[in-house]
Symmetry: C2
Subunit: 209 residues, 2 copies
């Protein structure tokens, strides 16, 4: 992570963990809407993570699979001091907030347990949830959001949750240190493509395996 401002060194690592893509490169299916927030077929992208012990515990359930998938899911929560998510990942509402009724997809105790910066064009007061999660709504763009997340993380790491548009913006700005992708054995045929028009090697990224 290079300095955001000349005189300030950004101390956190910025990572994306277990970001699910279809075999044909989509992070969400076509025709996203209220009933299908992940687009047509998009939930199939996340079956591998939902099945893990770590995810089940987050939903308050016992059981779930251990193994390599679970290791990756668990690692994605390790030493994370703040998240950044796009507004569409926070909720289905577009345009100005009609009111403050929408409080995220995750109920009153979201699985983050740290500050979550929500990228949006529409200001809204911070939203304090149970269990340590507070949503902060940042309207000043991705660099400012990252600076806020870095402060909030207080030396721990920043995780960028998604979705595709948020990732693409941070990749394009070369602000991501590590990106872990999970290619799911599913074809979506359309939707939000992570790679289209994004020349990652030219941006300085390489596959580390």
């Amino acid at each position: 992570m290079r300095a955001l401002l000349p005189e300030v060194e950004f101390m956190s690592s910025v990572g994306v963990h277990g970001f699910a893509l279809s075999l044909d490169g989509y992070g969400a299916g076509p025709n996203q809407n209220l009933a299908n927030p992940l687009g047509a077929g998009g939930t199939a992208l996340h079956e591998w993570t939902i099945a893990t012990r770590t995810s089940q515990r987050m939903f308050g359930q016992d059981g779930g699979a251990s193994g390599v998938d679970d290791d990756f899911v668990a690692r994605g929560f390790d030493n994370i001091g703040a998240w950044i998510i796009g507004r569409n990942m926070f909720g289905p509402i577009r345009g100005p907030w009609p009111d403050e009724a929408w409080r995220g997809w995750w109920g009153e105790s979201p699985p983050y347990h740290v500050p979550v910066i929500v990228l949006t064009h529409y200001a809204r007061p911070a939203l304090v949830m149970h269990g340590g999660t507070t949503f902060y709504f940042v309207t000043e763009g991705i660099e400012h959001a990252l600076a806020r997340a870095g402060e909030a993380a207080n030396g721990r790491d920043v995780r960028i949750g998604g979705g595709v548009s948020t990732l693409r913006q941070y990749l394009q700005a070369r602000l991501i240190d590590t990106l872990h992708l999970a290619v799911s054995p599913v074809l979506l045929g359309g939707g939000e493509s992570l790679f289209a028009g994004l020349d990652l090697p030219t941006l300085g990224y390489a596959c580390r395996e």
Copy 2:
């Protein structure tokens, strides 16, 4: 495989085997030319297959790795009665053939050992090589090429070798029965995208794993 002509049933299975894609979905890198027939960085796509015992034996070498990669490479030659390849896979020459000097990338004894149909817009006499490979140059389009390959395969299967453009045409025409992809841990950033604008689920394809 459905009938190509109403009264003729096509007996061969049509498959693509071990087709290498980069993580970002390219089957060849950007800026393909004589020195880089696979485009910038494109050879990295094929390292996994070159390392296998089956490939090494084809190059007349001992050794090479066994295991799952080798199993897939070997399976890709099993019961194949004919190949179809695009002209760019046969050689770097574009436009009309200047003469008959170019005889493929593979020397006098190519690793096919069966008839190989080469898709081209420019007619050329068949080219009989050592070891059972004969290149046939077909100018009447992909359906005709497949019919010719089916005849030549004589009950065995047809393998479509590539490249990306050839695959896309056959996928679009719904003429491929099975497609085995090998995602290589490399980013190319540009080049020939297999999936861009190709809606495989709508064409009737699904991931079988």
